[in-house]
Every structure is written in structure tokens, then in C-alpha cells.
Amino acid sequence: MGSTTVLLYSACPREGSTPEEARSALTLGRATAASLGGDLEWFLLGAKPSDAEAIAAEQGVARLHHCAAPELGADTQVAALEAFCAAHAPRIILFCQDFDSRVVAPRLAGRLGAGVVMNAVAIETGEALRVTASAFGGDTRGVYEFTGDGTAVIGLQPNACLPEAAESPSAPESCAFETDLGAVGERIVVIEAASSEGPRLEEAEIIVSGGRGLGASENYHWIEELAEALGGMAGASRPIVDEGWTDASHQVGLTGRITRPALYLAAGISGASQHMAGCGAAKAIAAINKDPDAAIFRYARYGIVGDCLEILPELVRAAKEQRHE
């Protein structure tokens, strides 16, 4: 069996359509495979998305592997990938980085004795395989070189590149990958599942976010009101989540939600790199901060230097007025 050059791995816990992140990972994978003189392949574990074939063709995928799995716990995923790697020996395995793959990718690397780099934003092939990854919350980028020719495991940051169709679509070969996952016991048993309810910040088109500059817990309602008036969702910086002004599901940033709304309005947020890691991909950032030198203004498209407690109520009024126009 020939060995695989670049493989994107996607876990598909439920039926649905291909997430945007997978398309951008395929775009990046296609360029990497081409520079290595090989093919791009895609491995889907679980429920195959209804548009997988179409996306694979659009992205120039040569082979689309699919393996059904009853359950997608981390142990199952690592076992399936281990079996896949034993059969296909990929040079590079790409993961779209999310909560689960942050466990599965490094565990697979450990299982294979492979090298791993997470938070990748670019891949360079030349004499050696090099990956640029974000560090210090985004304040710096590190360039890592893989030292051997073995499999390289790479976790891609959600906004590493924009998806782009291949010059000409491919006719992906569909391959069923069979491996016995029945014997894999999940060592971690969920006894009380997380109760996700309502829309997710990751999908919001408009986010109004507040930080420590709000001054006190009782002022957070201005964020919620403005979010509602604009038809968006409320976000927060980590310190105010830690303080309990709102719950963790609202935290934006490196260790919170990675969002990409059309508008991110930040009030009383300083713009620390770890916060910006979760909103830097917004199409437009508007910021209210009383400090004209605040870091947030480096990223913002629109800036207001002033007291957010004075501006927010007026924004709520203005947003409501324009809605009624």
C-alpha cells in the first residue's frame, strides 16, 4: 500500500454538513501536498457529512476515506487513527483544532512516537518540514522544524487560512476504512453531560463583549442589552468570567471561544493577545476604552476613547432607534 502524503482527519460525531474549518484545512493541506509532490487525502470518522464528496471534489482531494464509529470518545478516535496510520503511514496528519482534537492529536502523536505542533498557522516544506505556530497567546510566532521523516501531527488554528476551491475539481476516490473499534473501551465515562443550550458564540454574526473596564458585575447587563438590541450575542474577557459576572460559555479568547463575527464590539477590554486570539478574526472590531493607548485600538477598525458606562447606554438607545426606523 502506498503511503499518504497529507491527510486531514475529521471527527464527525453527528450527521450534518462540513464545518468551514475543514474547508480551510483542506485548502492549506492541498498546497502542502502539492509542494511535497503528493496527494491530499481526507479521513472522516463517524457520520459522514452529506456534502463531504462535494467539498472533497471542490478542494482537490484525491482520496476520501471513511470509517463508521459507534461513538467518538478520545480512546476510539486515537485507536482508529493508529490503525489508519499503520495502513497508510501519512507524512502529515492535519487536525482542525477544537476542544476534542486538542486531546486526540497529541495523544496520537504519543501513540505513534510522532512529532506534534499545535496552534499552527502556516506550513512550509523545503529541506525540512517547518510549521509556524502561535505562542504567548499570539504575541509571538514560533517556527518549529520536525527533526525526522516520520509522521508529523499538526493542529491548525481555526483561522489559519481562508478556504479556496482548487483550480479544477477532483474526482475523489471513496475508500472505506475498516478497523475493529468494538474492543476499544473508553476509559473516561461521562456521568453528567454538559448542557449546551441555545446558539453558540462561535456562530454569532455580532458579538458585544465586556471586560474589566465595566467596573462591576452589575454593569454587565449593558453588554447583554446592547447585544440584544443589535441582534447579537454577549461575550466577555476571562477576568470577568473568573469574577463570575457571567458564565464561562461567554469567554472569548485563547482558552475560551474562538469567534469570527462580522462585528465584535469590545467595551472595557484591554486587548491582551490571549483575548484577541478569540476575536482577531472578526471582520470588524469596534472598541470602547478610556485609555487611548489600549492595545485593543491596534486591532480595532472603529475606536471610541471614553467611558464605556457612558457610551453603552447611548449605544443601546441608538441601536434600538435604528431598529425601529
Partner: protein
């Protein structure tokens, strides 16, 4: 029971942020290290939280030895801090190459634990605030054949199993794990405790056990090398919106957002 806590020394991320903000973050002559001596170093904050959770298990009545381990030379300061708040044992593993990668770090930590005997729990931070990688705990778990529970905020012991509360994007989740496990902790743990002055003073007299890579028989585990580090450019083009009153400023912002079709 035996709890290992793995702690890493990192450059203060807030100080790094401040230097980066004013465009003064310096990269050394090697093209990859941050060389500013004015940036203090400290224990990775998530690792402090991991240690805090170990101490809370003890507070809750679990009889345990807490062993704090770090990879890197001259780490006495953070290890003494650990001792001052309640670590029973402190060890420093000196790698062959000071620029150790995550793979060698994990191999050293796993070999150390193997040499000392089976752990009941291995606690780590969810990620190190310098490299942000969050991979060492998973690599250690694989090397030791243990399950990994990541991004936790609380651990309870129930007989031979643990109940771990994880902070997931969909809210808190409670999982059970039977027997030994690697668990990574997050900031949701809350503030770690401080040492009393007396305990701080007492800790100044303890010295960490020092173990070398060759003592552990670890070599050739390197898989990646940091070859360059740089500060990315941020394109700055902020349009400041002004006005005579908050109401006027607010109206102008909404107007501008509509003009630019950012708002419908």
C-alpha cells in the same frame, strides 16, 4: 496515594504582552529566544492551579504525597514556592539540551514517574503560557498508558475512581475515571493559595532533588526544534469616532457601522 504535579517555569505572559504592545519585545541573537532580563519568570499559572487542586484533595481528607516535578535546570525558586504551600517532595529534571522540546520533556517526566513507582494522579496545567501547546500532558499519558482528562476545574476521589469536572465549550461536564489518570487543570479552579511568611522562610532551607536525563536513560526523544521566533505585525487602521456627547458618539458609531455595511 501519590500525586505528581508537573510545573513549568515560564516568562510572565503579562510582561511579554506589555513589551509586545509597545513594540519592544526583543528576540535574541539566536533568532528564537526572548532575552529581556526585565521580564520576570514564574510558575505557569495553570500549574499553580494544578497544585492547588492537589492541595484541595488533601484538604478534603485524602491522604497523599504531593510530588512537584519540573524539567529544566535551576528551577529552585518555583519549586520552593511549591514546597512553601504544601508540596511534600520537589524534583528538578535537568535535560541534556536546555532548549528541550515538548517530546523530550514528556519523555523525561514519564521516565521519572516510572522510576519512582506508579502514580495515582498526575496533574498538569492545560497548557504552558509560553508555547501554548498543551501537549505534554497527552504525551505523558500515552507514555504511561494512562487516560487523560483535560481542562478540569475540580477533582473528587470516590474510592478507586475520580470524578472530574471539565470545563467544555458546552458547559461543565462531569466524568468518571477508574484508577490512575493524567488530568489538566484550568483557571476555573480559582485562585491558588499563598504561603504564610513562616512557611516561605522554612521552604528556603529545602533543596530540590536533582535528576539528570542520563539518570533516567532518556535520549533521542526530540521530534521538533524551535528554529525561529518573531513578533507578528499587526496592521493598525483605527478610525476614532468623536463627538460632543456620549449620545452623539453612539449615533455616529451606529451610522458608520451601517454605512460600511458592518451592520445591516
Amino acid at each position: 496515594m501519590k500525586i505528581y504535579v508537573f510545573v513549568k517555569r515560564v516568562l510572565d505572559p503579562d510582561a511579554v504582552n506589555n513589551y509586545a504592545l509597545v513594540g519592544k519585545l526583543e528576540i535574541g541573537a539566536d533568532g528564537r529566544s526572548l532575552t529581556q532580563t526585565a521580564i520576570p519568570d514564574l510558575m505557569n499559572a495553570y500549574d499553580e492551579q494544578a497544585l492547588e487542586v492537589a492541595l484541595r484533595l488533601r484538604d478534603a481528607g485524602t491522604e497523599c504525597t504531593i510530588h512537584v516535578v519540573t524539567v529544566g535546570a535551576d528551577r529552585t525558586a518555583i519549586l520552593r514556592h511549591a514546597a512553601s504551600i504544601g508540596a511534600d517532595e520537589i524534583s528538578e529534571i535537568v535535560p541534556e539540551d536546555p532548549e528541550v522540546d515538548v517530546h523530550t520533556t514528556a519523555a523525561l517526566l514519564a521516565a521519572f514517574v516510572r522510576q519512582k513507582g506508579t502514580p495515582d494522579l498526575v496533574l498538569c496545567g492545560r497548557q504552558a503560557s509560553d508555547d501554548d501547546q498543551g501537549v505534554v500532558p497527552a504525551l505523558v499519558a500515552e507514555a504511561l498508558g494512562l487516560p487523560l482528562v483535560n481542562v478540569a476545574k475540580a477533582i473528587e476521589k470516590h474510592g478507586d475512581s475520580y470524578r472530574v469536572t471539565r470545563v467544555t465549550p458546552d458547559g461543565d461536564e462531569i466524568v468518571a475515571v477508574e484508577g490512575a489518570a493524567v488530568v489538566t487543570l484550568s483557571n476555573e479552579v480559582g485562585d491558588p493559595r499563598y504561603p504564610t511568611a513562616a512557611k516561605k522562610l522554612k521552604a528556603r532551607r529545602v533543596s530540590p532533588e536533582v535528576v539528570t536525563a542520563s539518570d533516567l536513560g532518556v535520549s533521542g526523544a526530540t521530534r521538533t526544534k524551535l528554529v525561529q521566533q518573531f513578533v507578528p505585525d499587526v496592521e493598525q487602521n483605527c478610525e476614532f469616532i468623536e463627538g460632543a456627547s456620549p449620545a452623539e458618539i453612539a449615533d455616529r458609531l451606529i451610522e458608520r457601522l451601517r454605512e460600511d455595511r458592518v451592520l445591516p
